[in-house]
Symmetry: C2
Subunit: 315 residues, 2 copies
């Protein structure tokens, strides 16, 4: 099967972003391995720039734009890690960033985006208002819209994460990561497909936002009305470009409840002494719920981010 | 000046414990550097076995005992990280560990110690009751008492931490660590003295337990009545053996309030996405309070531990 992103594309993207993002460490924990019944290798994107893997896709997308187009700036709508990633990438490139954020977004996130010098437009907390504002800004400024996930240059940037994981920890039997809009998952699947296709790739997904699970069952993108989960980074619906890659390549999608997510998050905080956000605990919860699938195997797990409000912890 | 621990002793101890403890990573953070106004290199003992540097001294002390003596077991009194370190070391050595713990110790800590197969004796939460019980157990079993800090084999084990820091990050101008009983501080000073004595070594200490600060002023061990601080790992009074090393070698001791400790702890959690306990945030608080001392310098900071009760966070 032919994919719109080649191995060469992934390698080029990785070289492009290397000066701007961290090659994050891979951690292990004997006590977590004992609990999980397998050998876990944690790729720590919670230590990434802006605190999440989104830095990879954001930087690649901004730097991939042709110079003439790039200098007019970039625009996106996001209340979370993608907003910070685009703001940071634009600052690095010396171009304007226009970020549409719902006015309900936490002040700490607005401050972080503003700290990179981005121009923030506050909108109503609806998909419609976000999109309308983004389109208006595109029209007014000529800036290029960068989707958080439904974009091949974003997917190609996220692919560098699994590439590093396989390079730094050869011999994995499986990789598991969370799935929301599908940017990280599509990138992970492409890197595995080209570099070591004996590795099984699994997704963890919240019960309350199980559009990937449903889409895999029906064979076409199937949205969930009013997705809801403590894993607030995974509420987005699968993108079309993402699904075109995920559908033929993914091994399985495991669903987990919010309670299971909170318990997995706490386990990682307590045993590994690292801070991960709820969305990031989803694959750990999925693995603990499906131990028989992973028993005795070498499993790479992508810890996607560490941006959590310490004043609002679920435990 | 001659010290009772030689460079050779430190090297031998390090080789002895290498198979049983982690060579912990050194992390850096550009955003923390910007705030601190210097180049910080964090030696992450919060990722150490048992979640704290105490594993180093505990393992060295247990494995340094002559075989005949060792097989009768080891005893200590501690409610914290030292208890776990001795219990773990004894398990590794296949010998009995007798741990006297105040009956007020959190159940999670009792469980952790019991998990290593140690025999726990609960006592009244007073120094007298702790010591009486430890002496009684020594008499009954012939086990060897291992002090948490006032012991040259413990100090020599802790010295391996700064040794690794200097080996893995050459060219430091200063090292800062917390001080309680003085085991880590004495070990750090000895390693620096023998390996690179151009490095200035500083201590951070809580205002509410400032016996090291007072002892440095008076020139002799000066205790504080009823020491009290959120940094509960630093309430112990300076040991005599420790002070004999600390007094001639330390550059300065900085005092910090509990509020400053909490702010520094939160800064590290938020910016670095790692979990450190309050005692471990003391040097960061001290550095932020004395920026002019460290301005523009390369500073190694020992992050001592990550054992914190997530249900009782100060923020």
């Amino acid at each position: 099967m032919e994919f719109p992103v080649s191995l060469q594309d992934i390698q080029t993207a990785h070289q492009r972003i290397v000066p701007y993002v961290h090659r994050t460490p891979i951690l292990t924990s004997e006590s977590v391995n004992e609990i999980a019944g397998c050998e876990l290798y944690f790729k720590c994107e919670n230590f990434q720039k802006v605190g999440a893997f989104k830095a990879r896709g954001g930087v690649n997308a901004v730097l991939s734009l042709p110079e003439e187009q790039r200098k007019k700036g970039v625009v996106t709508h996001s209340s979370g890690n993608h907003a910070q990633a685009i703001a940071m990438a634009a600052k690095m490139a010396g171009i304007p960033a226009y970020i549409v954020m719902p006015k309900t977004a936490p002040e700490v996130k607005r401050k972080a985006v503003a700290g990179y010098g981005a121009q923030i437009t506050l909108c109503e907390p609806t998909q419609q208002s976000r999109e309308e504002n983004a389109v208006r800004i595109q029209d007014e400024t000529g800036a290029t819209f960068i989707s958080p996930y439904n974009d091949y240059s974003v997917i190609t940037g996220q692919a560098s994460c699994a590439k590093e994981l396989m390079e730094d920890q050869p011999g994995l039997d499986a990789i598991i990561a969370p799935v929301g809009g599908g940017g990280l998952m599509a990138g992970t699947l492409l890197s595995v497909h080209y570099m070591d296709n004996k590795i099984d790739v699994y997704a963890g997904e919240p019960e309350g936002a199980k559009d990937t699970y449903l889409s895999m069952q029906t064979g076409e993108i199937t949205k969930v009305d009013h997705p809801n989960s403590i894993a607030d980074g995974l509420l987005a619906s699968m993108g079309e470009k993402n699904f075109g890659i995920i559908k033929p390549l993914i091994k399985d999608v495991f669903l987990v409840t919010d309670q299971e997510i909170i318990e997995a998050m706490r386990l990682i905080w307590e045993r590994m002494k690292i801070i991960i956000e709820p969305s990031c605990a989803v694959p750990m919860a999925a693995l603990l719920k499906n131990k028989e699938v992973f028993a005795g195997r070498k499993v790479g797990m992508i810890l996607t981010g560490g941006n959590v409000d310490l004043a609002k912890l679920p435990f």
